[in-house]
Symmetry: C2
Subunit: 724 residues, 2 copies
């Protein structure tokens, strides 16, 4: 049996190894060539915009974090407040690092693409790997250090919930604010540039073009990263909390298991990343790194893969070989193999872990269930949003009869696409509860198993997130190649990399919502246990109102975020129009637009508009918990999770399918670009933008944040004003 | 204390009184003038089409009813099967009668409008009143007769649930089939007529114009009537079933109370109807009616209002006076006053009822809560869908920037419009449970109160349904006036009556979904009681999968119904194009189109496309109940009700708001008809059509039908295959 403390220390070491890898990879990426002067100056503008947004956002966040920390310290414990601050800093740090490298890797990817497709893939994917590994290792480091600080205190796991709350708070602002930013800039740039002025996408004359490129990073790198940071931390915290309530002599093993699975997940992720990037040293300076801290780091990082050295040697020949003539399918296969490879490794390592922990073999099956469910949802998402498949093609067909049928068909496809993800999740939950129940004979063991399935699903996050976060880098690289008029074959390569990114972005969204649901349910189970709720009758006095109000919140939240995009985009439109009017020579390309003004307006708008939905997510559970009581709050969480899951999948997939239906038509179907069908498809794509990039993904945060707030304040709720 | 048997006999008598009123009113309407020959021939075509659809639909239904009745008789009891057949016949009968008079009142309304606005209102509203009173009295008659047949059998209320199931089955086909029919015909007629051929709405050259007019009746008269028949019967059955489980000596009073409230509701409804129609005999032949049965009927019907004679005399001066210069607001006020008047009467009479029954005064408060909630939801619906209010105007404003922003803003408004209806419902449930709990100290009493609130909300259904079912008659009258080129001032009057119908249709939808939710929850509570489920832990082993799958079903159902409209509309488009091509002189107006072909295609399409979603609604609860067990089924029902409520409100209100945003622009805003904004608004309106008239309202049926199926089979479910 492996004791919890041992497990935590192993996890801490793997966290350190992950950080070391991040530093090593970061230095490698930064050493790459940045291309010509035009490319550098465009990249500099994007970097400046990104940094401006993050600085402003973190300032707002700083205030929020201080206020909430004081509230927590006053009403709960200073330890929880400390954990909260830790969580916020860890998540913000990972997000900052991911953005920092993404806005530097974009120009390097463009430059590398001049030398070949695989070179470009390596740089862009390397940047994604930094985001993925930062999330995983910062989360592990934060939680394990806190665990060790609080060691011996019986409330140690209660305090740890604060870490999840801190991470969730950052995720809220990153996802909601980032989602508003990215779509306001996108829609604003398109409405004036493409529609009114007739200039192409990514044209440097468009004053909003830099804001648009910044937005890709803000939304898809920082936003997605913070979202999954929250799921990753939340599922581990929920599993540990539930594990602590499991009886028998194995309690310590139950607490330790999620940490151990996460720890061996770091190894699996590094293996998966290696399968894409391969031996990187070809184009690089000597691997020796000068600085002290980094020396240690590199030492550790070479140790980490070394533990699986024989295996890696054996599998070396499977490392992705991407040649010049690679199709989208080849590139996809390269990425898929890395995720599958990582999954294979984690299954082996976690089997060892489960056996050494001395818990039932069933828990290994639970991890397997989680992994299969995650990949299954991603696969279904791809089916519904890829233009090589029937659903998206049915939308393209509907484009022939105009925008109305385009929208109706898209909504129908989005709704239909919820069926399989829900069934997969339901079966995964049922099997997990059943396996846990069989192993240890209690419902709590079953719910622990659900949390563990979530940990399993997210164990290879280091590499799955890398495949997501790679997308915007490739997208930006394409923009930079376009704006700096690089040769045609370079543009072709960046296009190929960009298409790949679009596909992985869609599947990433499916994975993100699936893991969010498991995490939210696990946190809910932990809440019910922590609030010491004895009876939770589904028809209980306050339960039905709780469920109904809960089911309504995702609709309110989505209405707010969608309106926010509209308002912020409107402000951009006015500014872009003003610049075209007032700056002489802008249209002719003889004068430069004021990019910073648009970046400023996007930033301003996003930060302002995220306040109300953000506050709502934190305040509503507290109000319901205090007024209607802790039972009603459980109902509220169930209602929000179920309703939010459905709405999020529907919006994300409808949006993805509209986007790709347009791309399908652009390949020449139904008259191709410029046809009536294409115009209808553009309407669908524009409607889909806030669906898939703002409102849909924001719901992931809503459901997790509400659960973690409830868990943190679980001890404070009573039976409410209505005493039955 | 009034015993259940006494209450049931009173309800039976009021049911007979209602039938008598229906017969009397029917004869009055049929005696009205039918206008000139053109009008008569158009009306005949609509009548023929409606009759063709109903005959075909009822044939399919007949087969379904026989199969299900045999299944019920085999696996449960022959008594339940008998009740099922009764319920189906009663609902189908009410629907048939409502349609029968609606397709005859339309031409008479057009003719009456030649004589004045109030005359037109009287005929159209009189037709609606027949639908409203048929629903109420057929339901009461059916349930009370069954109650008396089964008297003395301890399972008497269990058998009665079959009546609700029968009514639900009819509602399913009427709502789903009717919803598909009406929108397929509407969209098909518009796409070729308005868009391709450039001929106006309701042009007799359009081969689909008759199908379109038939569709209005099929969807909004028969569909809406069957929907509310189901709610009305379901809430009474649920209340009686829960009342039977309440202890103390008052059990019989608890069972009787819902019947009594419904019985006095008949009086209130007749009063409300009187307030709109007033003294009708002006334009009529002598009131003496020749036939024997009707003689009795008239005798009874004059008795019924006579019981409240003094009150009516006193209130006579409040009867609506609608003069020639009446604005939409005046007309609305006339209808509103009738609903308010009926509500005032029911409050007085139900107070007497509650006091005489000997149950707690709290139950009167519960009825009050139900009435306020119903009217509150209708009011909110009007706010969100009326073009005199900000939400709909915000959509019109978004039309200026094209169809994409129109859709986004409409979805945002639809989502936002869910907030208040959910809060109103949640508060109504909370208060009901609280009041019931305070009165009789048990959760069951609280759930009984929820069912009673539903009965209260629906007690004045006779008149509220009259205001809904009036709409399509006025709409048809306008179409007939247009097609037969009646003078301009007549067309103005029918337009005014039509506008009124559009507004009441939107509020009617809000009321329908609100009552559906209360009914479904009451049926769920009855199911939980009947299935003898002891513990329903919200995190129970099979509960979470049940809830998630339940929340998904409305999305699947909506996707299916939305696609069905698309397919059926496509078939109509092809047929209309064919006729314009192959019939020489059609466009010039020298040849007549083949209306029957389009009617046949709509009928065919609707009947074919309703099979899969319809079967799903019946089969899924059974599968879940047997495979996952009775607890999971409770979770499934909760999930479907909560998720379906939200989706239905969102779709209905977004659709209504898009429709009226278009109408707002047509009043001259943002460039009026023909402007770019108007084109965008038309896209919104077309997207909204299946939202508000097919998929949205079908969800009302889904949630109630699943609950009643579960209740009927409650005794047959075990703990499922997963034994924990």
């Amino acid at each position: 049996m492996i004791h919890a403390s041992t497990a935590v220390i192993i996890a801490l070491l793997m966290g350190i190894a992950g950080v070391a890898y991040v530093i090593w990879q970061l230095r490698r990426i930064l050493d790459y060539d940045q291309g010509n002067d035009t490319m550098r100056s465009i990249a500099a503008a994007i970097q400046e915009g990104a940094s401006a947004f993050l600085t402003r956002e973190y300032r707002v966040l700083g205030i929020f974090v201080v206020i909430v920390a004081v509230v927590i310290a006053t009403f709960l414990h200073w330890q929880t407040a400390l954990a909260f601050v830790f969580g916020a800093i860890a998540s913000a740090g990972a997000g900052y690092l991911g953005m920092y490298v993404a806005v530097r890797a974009n120009v390097r990817t463009a430059a590398a693409a001049s030398r070949g497709l695989h070179e470009g893939l390596r740089v862009a994917f390397g940047s994604g790997a930094i985001m993925g590994m930062s999330v995983v290792s910062f989360s592990l480091l934060g939680m394990t250090v806190l665990y060790l600080i609080f060691k011996g205190d019986p409330n140690q796991l209660v305090y740890l919930t604060g870490f999840g709350f801190g991470a969730s708070s950052i995720a809220l602002f990153a996802r909601v604010g980032g989602g508003i930013y990215t779509k306001a800039a996108d829609v604003g740039a398109d409405l004036v540039g493409k529609v009114e002025k007739g200039i192409p996408e990514d044209d440097p004359r468009n004053p909003a073009v830099i804001a648009d490129n910044v937005g890709d990073n803000v939304g898809d790198v920082a936003g997605m990263g913070a979202d999954l940071f929250e799921s990753y931390s939340g599922s581990i915290i929920a599993a540990a909390t539930l594990g602590a309530t499991l009886g028998g002599g194995a309690t310590a093993a139950f607490i330790g298991l999620p940490f151990l699975v996460a720890a061996v997940g770091v190894i699996s992720s590094l293996f998966g990343i290696y399968m894409v990037i391969g031996k990187q040293n070809d184009a690089m300076p000597a691997a020796g790194v000068p600085m002290g801290f980094s020396d240690v780091a590199v030492g550790l990082s070479s140790t980490a893969p070394a533990t699986a050295g024989g295996l890696m040697g054996f599998l070396k020949r499977y490392v992705a070989k991407v040649d010049e003539n690679a199709t989208l399918e080849d590139l996809l296969t390269a990425l898929r193999r890395s995720v599958w490879g990582a999954s294979a490794v984690i299954l082996g390592l976690s089997l060892v872990t489960v056996l050494l922990s001395g818990v039932s073999f069933n828990y290994w099956l639970v991890i397997l269930v989680g992994l299969i469910a995650g990949n299954g949802i991603a696969y279904v998402t791809e089916h519904y949003t890829s233009y090589t498949e029937k659903p998206t093609q049915s939308i393209a067909k509907a484009c022939q009869t105009g925008p109305a049928t385009t929208i109706i068909q898209g909504v129908a496809v989005g709704m239909m696409s919820t069926v399989l993800p829900v069934l997969i999740t339901a079966v995964a939950i049922l099997l997990s509860i059943w396996l846990g129940h069989k192993a240890d004979g209690s419902l709590t063991a079953g719910l622990y198993a659900v949390a563990l399935a979530g940990v399993g699903m997210l164990s290879t996050l280091g590499v799955t997130l890398a495949t997501d976060a790679y997308g915007p880098v490739a997208d930006n690289a394409g923009g930079i190649a376009e704006m700096s008029s690089l040769p045609k074959e370079v543009r072709h390569r960046t296009d190929a990399l960009d298409s790949l990114g679009n596909t992985t972005a869609a599947t990433g969204k499916g994975f993100a919502i699936g893991s969010a649901v498991l995490t939210a349910l696990a946190l809910l189970a932990a809440y019910v246990s922590a609030a010491k709720i004895d009876t939770l009758h589904i028809l209980g006095a306050t339960m039905l109102p709780g469920i109904l109000i809960g089911a309504m919140l995702p609709y309110l939240f989505s209405a707010l975020t969608m309106s926010a995009v509209g308002k912020a985009a409107h402000a951009i439109v006015l500014e872009v129009r003003r610049q075209f009017q007032e700056i002489p020579g802008l249209m002719e390309g003889t004068a430069k637009p004021d990019y910073a003004a648009c970046v400023g307006i996007s930033t301003e708008g996003a930060l302002k508009e995220m306040i109300i939905p953000g506050t709502m997510a934190v305040v509503v559970p507290l109000v319901v918990g205090f007024v209607l009581g802790k039972e009603a709050l459980a109902g509220l969480l169930i209602g929000t999770t179920a309703s939010g899951f459905l709405l999020a999948v529907m919006m994300a997939n409808a949006g993805g399918a509209w986007d790709n239906a347009k791309k399908w038509i652009e390949t020449g179907q139904y008259g191709g670009k410029g046809s009536e069908a294409h115009k209808a498809a553009v309407v669908g794509d524009t409607v889909g933008d806030p669906f898939k990039d703002t409102s849909g993904p924001s719901l992931n945060i809503l459901i997790k944040l509400m659960s973690i707030v409830s868990l943190v304040f679980a001890g404070a709720f009573g039976s409410g004003w209505f005493n039955f």
